[in-house]
Symmetry: C2
Subunit: 156 residues, 2 copies
């Protein structure tokens, strides 16, 4: 009733470790978000919007579908997000004449021009992360593997 605290302090080492990994990913994602926020606020983007812009800067105009595949997001998330980017004058959207189901997302001049600012954004984050390149590469690879495992498992 008041104190059943005794046996729950260290339930099981392996489970404890697992908890900390999933939580570490969760909390680090939030920390990244917070680190990006003040920087992205200056250019008027949210972090997911910035990711979409990165895709467009790198790969050029493309349908909503392929953006979603690269970012692992569906139309339920992307449609309103893209609408906001369009209202901000950074992207344009038009139906593909070859396949009217698809909406091709393209950069406006304003959106393309914003690419110049990406250098200072990334530099600020790299500094905030405080990792050397080897560390970053190693961490990224491990996360990619973990993510692949989790995603593969999902299909069962």
């Amino acid at each position: 009733m008041t104190d059943k605290v005794e046996e729950r302090a260290i339930p099981d080492e392996e489970k404890r470790l697992e908890r900390q990994l999933c939580f570490a990913v969760y909390a680090t994602a939030h920390a990244f978000n917070r680190a990006y926020k003040p920087i992205l606020d200056r250019v008027g983007l949210t972090y997911p919007q910035y990711l979409v812009m990165l895709v467009l800067w790198e790969k050029g105009c493309q349908p909503v579908k392929t953006i979603g595949e690269q970012l692992d997001l569906d139309s339920g998330t992307l449609s309103p997000l893209l609408k906001r980017l369009e209202q901000a004058g950074l992207i344009g959207r038009m139906r593909d004449p070859k396949d009217e189901r698809q909406v091709i997302v393209s950069l406006t001049d304003k959106g393309a021009a914003m690419k110049c600012q990406v250098n200072s954004i990334m530099a600020a984050i790299v500094e905030a992360a405080g990792c050397d390149m080897d560390e970053m590469a190693s961490l990224r690879e491990q996360l990619q593997r973990l993510r692949a495992n989790l995603t593969a498992d999902e299909s069962r």
Copy 2:
């Protein structure tokens, strides 16, 4: 020339790497969420709600503030979340008589009983992650360091 494509494909090695790390964390967090979802659906919890329950199972009843410190969440996130857990009959909330500003969150019998189910939940995720313990420990440590860097930088 043909170099033009290469130049565009890899604008700058360091920046490209950074993009992949922040995105890797972002996407892995989503992958964890999706991996947990079908499992947690069965017990009627969301992933953040599960994290709150983990804190309560481990440390016992405590004020909203300390839950927030451990999960890095503020009252704006926790208040409605705790309200839902209360409505689900898993936790209770009452003002601390010693300091009426604080609300002490406690487990109900139903909430405490749910702890038994955590074993199968964690086992399923560990299997889905497909990592051995060393890998998990290493990854967790790197993420904790990264998160600490990002958070420390924030205060500047």
